[in-house]
Symmetry: C2
Subunit: 417 residues, 2 copies
């Protein structure tokens, strides 16, 4: 095997998750291990992703997380329980390699300066696009470097993998919080509707997770609407009336990305129409729009709740399965790079049989970037107001286990790099 | 001592908390103990508070939580970790005893029918008003019964007690969640403002709790505004500009009850002016109003987050100190009733010295009901955009310790009565 010796760099990009630092801790462990074998000379962290790399805003991660060359277990453990992106993040869309080769030559001059031979990038769909473009450019360059994408997104919408690191923890937070909201909404005897808005622009995986308590103990939300199906105000009103005929307090879980038949977002009326740098429409207010609708059409007590940022940063309630797999994903990425993989993303494959098991492999990244994996039609009930048990059984193993979070003086301990 | 033998009834009223069922479990333990001594013959639970009592909608709580007359520890433990009000709640304002004696006679006929001699009511300010009125009426009646109010409110705004059960858990949830949001907001290098809205109509205790991470690890919100001080948009803009000159991501914690100099709520513009049955103005949208203000005046990225219901029902992150004290408060209430107290509320007294300690006693309820205990002026900094270390040191012991929550299949286990 051709062993490529040199430094490595790792970055984080896109929206934070509760598990992205666990993946980073896996990359650090892997790099320190390869360091002790004389393969990876140094591990740099890029601050704020590719933007920091361009400015040579780099930190010596290897040195930061080792004592006398040994892994600093306590620090790495705290890193794994710290939410958001310890290295900082960015939302930068790379230019097309054929249109702006100068951009890529600037990057390569940084790689050369620091003798960087391994590029690990932890992120979602847009970050995989970065890895795909960079490795495509490098393929036609004489600079030898290996680029490995490491998936991360609470949205679980990446193609080519059973699920994404970060999703399990977000799902556990959402399922737990919605179960608590269901309990809260059961205390009054007057009719009331509570609409809970959950992240997910195009894919309804997170919103589906809200229904896990239905499978586990029969005490989940009454109605669940995913963005994979067109939303109808008329059917919603019918669904609500049927639900209200059975009990006073109704809890509805909705995706932020709900759209009407005509393609317009349910929450669009309240929005500015602004888009982010990737051209995604900036969304908010789906639950608020439904709150106003219920107030007008039914007139009962109604409340909307946006779960908002805590969905992606509530590390105190991370899934042990997710955190362990996130660390494994980072370790696997380092091994894959050392063994010669480039232009790939680490993916997970679920084993067959009754017991949940997962293994890792690499997938060509070009076919993955920019593809969105939605909830399959068969996972949504016929009426479009709930998910099937099959869907919930797919999510179920990903929320299992609780982390032994380290607290100090009553608050979880975080690390700041 | 005159030992009054007979049945007892317990109810929950007002908004749910993460700890109100822990208090209920304390009352059940206390009543079962007195049952074994032949004093309390039976413990009824009223469904939906005083409303259920009037309809004789009662459950045999003693029977439900004992096996062969022994306390069912496992069930009581699960009850203590179940959020919201297991017996259901209500928001009913009792009539003045002198104006509507018939109402009280109806209640007394229910008490007589079930031989109820002890009335325990767990709730906040409005619920203490209920206990005060009922005991006042009973004082002039020939029916012998003892009424004990047991405090519960996340708002910590009850007079006559060091703090209220439920507050510590809400404070721990808020401090942890805001710390996580601070981490999330630190990942990008572009200027951004995040406004977090926290419950508290008149008292800023919960909003103050958001700043605990500042004391504990120096990583809390940048600006904190409580309802005890008038809010000024001009000063807010100045504060923001100063904060933004130091770092890009600014996190602001605000109370839902912020008011301007003229007495109008900051969020009032977006509201209907509706009031609840107690005449409180229904509030929402303070953070949203500030989001719109920042967008217009600064033009940077801005996001508002309402912590909403999870503040009061996130039992998965309850404070061990709060849960233990909540159970103790319930036990103490039963003992106080047996020992002859009536027309009282259980209150907590903090011991002096460096180590936190608490003891319980009873306070005359007539002086407590309808009084609001706000954050003292000396706990707020001069500029009015933060709280003092003294304030945080008062809250600090109340969030200490984590509960060993029982999970099953990845979700916390709750009990439904």
């Amino acid at each position: 095997m051709n062993v490529l010796k040199g430094a490595a760099v790792v970055g984080q990009s896109g929206g934070p998750t509760a598990a992205i630092n666990a993946t980073l801790s896996g990359v650090i462990r892997g790099a320190l291990d390869e360091g002790s074998k004389g393969v990876i000379s140094k591990l740099y962290g890029m601050r704020n992703g590719i933007e920091g790399l361009l400015k040579e805003n780099l930190v010596d991660l290897g040195g930061m997380f080792s004592s006398d060359g040994e892994e600093d277990d306590e620090k790495l453990r705290i890193l794994a329980q710290t939410p958001a992106a310890a290295l900082g993040s960015c939302r930068k869309k790379l230019p097309d390699p054929s249109e702006d080769p100068d951009f890529y030559e600037s990057l390569i001059s940084v790689f050369k300066k620091y003798d960087i031979r391994y590029f690990f990038y932890i992120g979602g769909n847009d970050s995989m696009d970065t890895v795909a473009k960079l490795s495509k450019y490098l393929a036609g360059s004489e600079y030898e470097m290996r680029c490995v994408g490491i998936p991360k997104t609470i949205d679980n919408d990446l193609a080519g993998t059973d699920h994404t690191p970060g999703f399990g923890s977000a799902a556990k937070y959402i399922a737990t919080t919605v179960q608590e909201i269901v309990r809260d909404c059961a205390v009054y005897s007057v009719p009331a509707v509570t609409v809970v808005e959950i992240m997910g622009r195009d894919a309804g995986w997170l919103t589906a997770s809200a229904a896990l308590a239905n499978l586990i103990n029969g005490e989940g939300p009454d109605l669940v609407y995913l963005p994979e199906r067109s939303f109808s105000f008329d059917l919603f009103l019918e669904d609500l009336k049927i639900a209200q005929s059975k009990k006073p307090g109704i809890v509805v879980a909705v995706s932020e990305g709900l759209r009407l038949d005509n393609g317009r977002y349910v929450g669009e009326g309240t929005q500015s129409g602004a888009t982010d740098v990737f051209g995604h429409k900036y969304l908010a207010g789906t639950a608020k729009a439904l709150e106003m609708f219920v107030k007008e059409k039914i007139g009962c007590k109604v409340r909307s709740i946006e779960l908002n940022l805590p969905q992606r940063c509530a590390a105190h309630l991370a899934s042990l399965t997710d955190i362990n797999e996130s660390i494994e994903t980072g370790l696997f990425a380092v091994r894959a790079g050392i063994e010669g993989s480039t232009g790939v993303m680490v993916s997970s494959v679920r084993g067959g049989g009754d017991c949940y098991s997962i293994s890792f492999r690499t997938e060509e990244i070009s076919g993955i970037a920019n593809a969105i994996r939605c909830v399959p039609d068969g996972y949504i009930n016929e009426r479009g107001n709930g998910v099937t048990d099959e869907c919930l059984r797919y999510i179920f193993p990903l929320i299992q286990g609780e982390c032994r979070t380290v607290y100090r003086d009553g608050l979880p301990v975080h690390i700041v790099i």
